[in-house]
Chain length 269, copies 2
């Protein structure tokens, strides 16, 4: 069992309810990682709701209402519609009787075929070994990133200016990502890759944390073995909020997942 499978395991607890144990390793500072929480919700979805024909998550929208704590949590799932080609599910993660994360999940059957048509080219990144390994303890950062104990995340060496107060100000950060235990990427774990650390606002000289309010992920196809490339980019910052887009390509250069995110961000006056 991979570290990811273990950390996102859910146990049936009757009538659409599942018991989960939120693993503090999958955290940024003292907050559980958004992509990890979405994966946990999406893990529970097909267990109760879908027929055997729709094993894969193809879309998840999540609203992050209140940060959950590491430890026991309840996941509830409810099928909205089980159709011929997709199943639609409503899900939530609760602790102490309060909904911490609410989600809408679509399930289907993915394959690894090439797209019929695409508008996007994969980002170009130097080889994995030439990229900067993100540490668990970031110099000058107020908090550690326990997620880096399980996820190898390497930053493009030409985009490290934000560390020295000289961000590129283009508004994007490109990374290689793979699991430290060698686990292959799958549709669920791609949700982790879609929510990279740090936020792309760092590349705009806005170093504050950017808590996710709402995040929508699409998983397009089964990823090829090997590390994935991720571009996280800012669409716009204003009014205390930021719109970010993430795209993930597999080792064969195919787009395998994408996300849009609404986050809170502080802009110094």
């Amino acid at each position: 069992m991979t570290q990811f499978d273990d950390a996102t395991a859910v146990e049936p607890a009757g009538s659409g309810s599942y018991e989960a144990k939120l693993d503090a390793t999958w955290s940024v500072g003292d907050k559980l990682h958004g992509g990890y929480l979405m994966a946990l919700l999406a893990r529970a979805a097909p267990n109760s709701a879908a027929g055997p024909g729709h094993p894969h998550v193809t879309a998840v929208s999540a609203s992050f209402a209140e940060p959950p704590e590491p430890g026991p949590a309840e996941v509830r799932v409810e099928a909205l519609r089980a159709g011929r080609t997709i199943t639609q599910v409503r899900a939530e993660l609760a602790q102490d009787g309060r909904t911490r994360v609410a989600a809408l999940v679509t399930l289907g059957l993915l394959d690894d075929a090439d797209p019929h048509w695409t508008s996007v080219e994969p980002v170009e990144l130097p080889p994995v070994e030439s990229c900067f390994l993100a540490p668990r303890e970031v110099p000058g950062n107020a908090f550690p990133v326990p997620l880096m104990d399980v996820l190898e995340l390497r930053l493009h060496p030409e985009q490290l200016g934000f560390v020295f107060g000289e961000p590129t100000r283009r508004g994007w950060l490109d990374t290689w990502q793979r699991f430290k235990d060698g686990a292959p990427w799958d549709p669920l774990s791609l949700l982790v890759a879609l929510d990279p650390v740090p936020p792309a606002s760092y590349d705009l000289g806005l170093p504050g944390w950017a808590p996710t309010i709402q995040l929508t992920a699409h998983v397009l196809r089964l990823p090829a073995p090997g590390p994935v490339k991720v571009r996280l980019s800012v669409t716009e910052v204003g009014g205390g909020r930021m719109d970010e887009t993430a795209m993930v390509w597999d080792s064969e250069g195919r787009l395998v997942a994408q996300a849009t995110q609404l986050a809170a961000v502080r802009v110094p006056a």
Copy 2:
């Protein structure tokens, strides 16, 4: 009262429940328009859940489980969290006891200030009068578009090739949009603009209908008076599905809303 306000009106029916009347005018073929349905859900959200400080929808994710019928419907809303700067709400639209559309809504306070930073430039479109007015009855189309009775939608004249079987194959369609009754755009009605007709797959030579499975909209700021410009573009088509992005600019050229959509699409073998 504008036609849009009238068609999206909701009446309190006790404990988070609202009565709505779905107006067949806001349809494409015999299906109610997705942006219209989202607006109706978002209209109900602040009534019950938010304090007076969060009057505007800033994000909506909707899962379209089963097409609702014109006529009476129930909207249910439930506050997940009412915070200092935002309120998060879960909503659904039901008919005959079945959830037809499920949604996650974020509410806040928008203004019309310029962004702190943006990555996007407004699309260039010829003047409104030089663009092609989309008709209610499309020649060669199997169904009428009643939505065009209330919405003036004008297509870029250089992107009309799809009508003659000669699409540009760039994967986008640009439109001017304004309401026929002269109603100004507001955060709610921008949800209609974010789900344009026809789908951008028409520009790829895929003329079949593309029913929305899941749609996430972000509203960024209050729009200036006047018509809006909209670009609907395809990210990727494959495996029976399409990822689309929509962006809406107000008459002052500022991005006021954006959306990503997962839709079903048929690719001829």
